[in-house]
Symmetry: C2
Subunit: 232 residues, 2 copies
């Protein structure tokens, strides 16, 4: 039975601008699993209700539906233990959950602020209105206000917000050590999300994070690099 | 050959107020290793110079000296693979390094700010002067100014700075999952450091982090709870 991944997209189904879906696309590639992509848009709430989901990604494995990127990653390691492990031990899984929470709490909002204005043009009118209403609420400002300050915001983002990741990548090639694991995909997916919709340069080329991102864009035969997106 | 741990202390050698040393005390206990504690104070730079160290902890294993808490933790797992693993796999080690950097970059400074004024009374005059001069430089304010604002600072610290840890401990008992690993000790050591010297309450009793801290204070026959310190 082929796995299916219900994935957020814009008007163009190839514009996949969800960091949470990108975590799972990288995870599925890491495990060498084939899957069918099912495009989903914000206005299609009904289509995933039957899976107990109000958001994507949703992974469909025959009769089983798993939603929430973290739960899907855990499921993939449990269901396919003979494939390359995403985390591989309870201890690694435990610590990765902290990294997942750190990313979601600390990185997502400043990144959204810098690219939100660029998302709108990829969406149909109904999705654009929904996206603007909900996300401007999270940000506490309009997308245009957010865009106007992003040249300044990115300096703090690089220097302070990303510092723990930068220090890590100064001493090892990947979050996972000498090769990537799900700890990498948790964070890489955020950068991939941004470049899908925005030409804004979140990273300077002399940043070890830039080099790491480039390497993960090339992984799995260039899965992320070949996907719709901007050169950043 | 008995291991030796060179450890920061106050006038009273039982006042061990270094988060980095506490990481290693918990790590040594986790691995069930005996060791001799060697007290060290800031004004004893000469005593550790021969080990290539300017700071503690320094672990002495016969002729070998290892300094820097992260390197010591890695060394312990490599040197004693038959003992309970602190991390146990390259993937776990890799991700833990990110947590270590997150803790050092994001948590240490706000915690220092809240407890620094309480450290001074535990130090001899020379160490107190050194500590004040260097740490007030890091903080950008005097210890007294820092103490005066800590009742407000702690609210942001709890709500925002600790949120990734809190979310993690809402879904699992320890950073390591169902049992503690070095990911826990990285963070627990910061709280233990503070309670060694300060009665200031960093955590509210209804916080999952409070429960987790209490559980780790009880670990290893109450190693941390029995150590010199305040009820917090």
């Amino acid at each position: 039975m082929t796995l299916k991944l219900v994935e957020l997209c814009g008007v163009d189904p190839e514009v996949n601008f969800s960091p949470f879906c990108w975590r799972i696309r990288m995870a599925l590639a890491h495990k060498g699993l084939d899957y069918e992509r099912v495009p989903w848009r914000y206005n299609e709430a009904e289509a995933i209700k039957a899976y107990g989901a109000s958001k994507v990604p949703v992974l469909l494995d025959g009769e089983k539906a798993v939603n929430d990127s973290w739960k899907i990653a855990v499921y993939l390691d449990e269901k396919f233990p003979d494939r390359a492990p995403l985390l591989g031990s309870e201890g690694a899984l435990g610590i990765a959950r902290l990294v997942n929470n750190w990313a979601d709490v600390t990185l997502v909002l400043p990144m959204l602020s810098m690219i939100a204005a660029d998302v709108v043009g990829h969406l149909g009118p109904e999705d654009a209105a929904y996206f603007r209403k909900t996300r401007e609420g999270f940000l506490g400002r309009t997308f245009e206000e957010a865009r106007d300050r992003r040249d300044l915001d990115v300096l703090t983002f690089r220097k302070t917000t990303l510092l723990p990741l930068r220090l890590t990548l100064k001493s090892q090639a990947y979050v996972g050590g000498s090769k990537p694991n799900y700890g990498d995909y948790i964070l890489f997916a955020l950068f991939q999300w941004c470049r899908t919709v925005s030409p804004f340069k979140l990273l300077a080329p002399d940043d070890p994070i830039y080099t790491w991102r480039a390497s993960l864009m090339d992984a799995f035969d260039g899965l992320a690099r070949k996907a719709a997106g901007f050169e950043v």
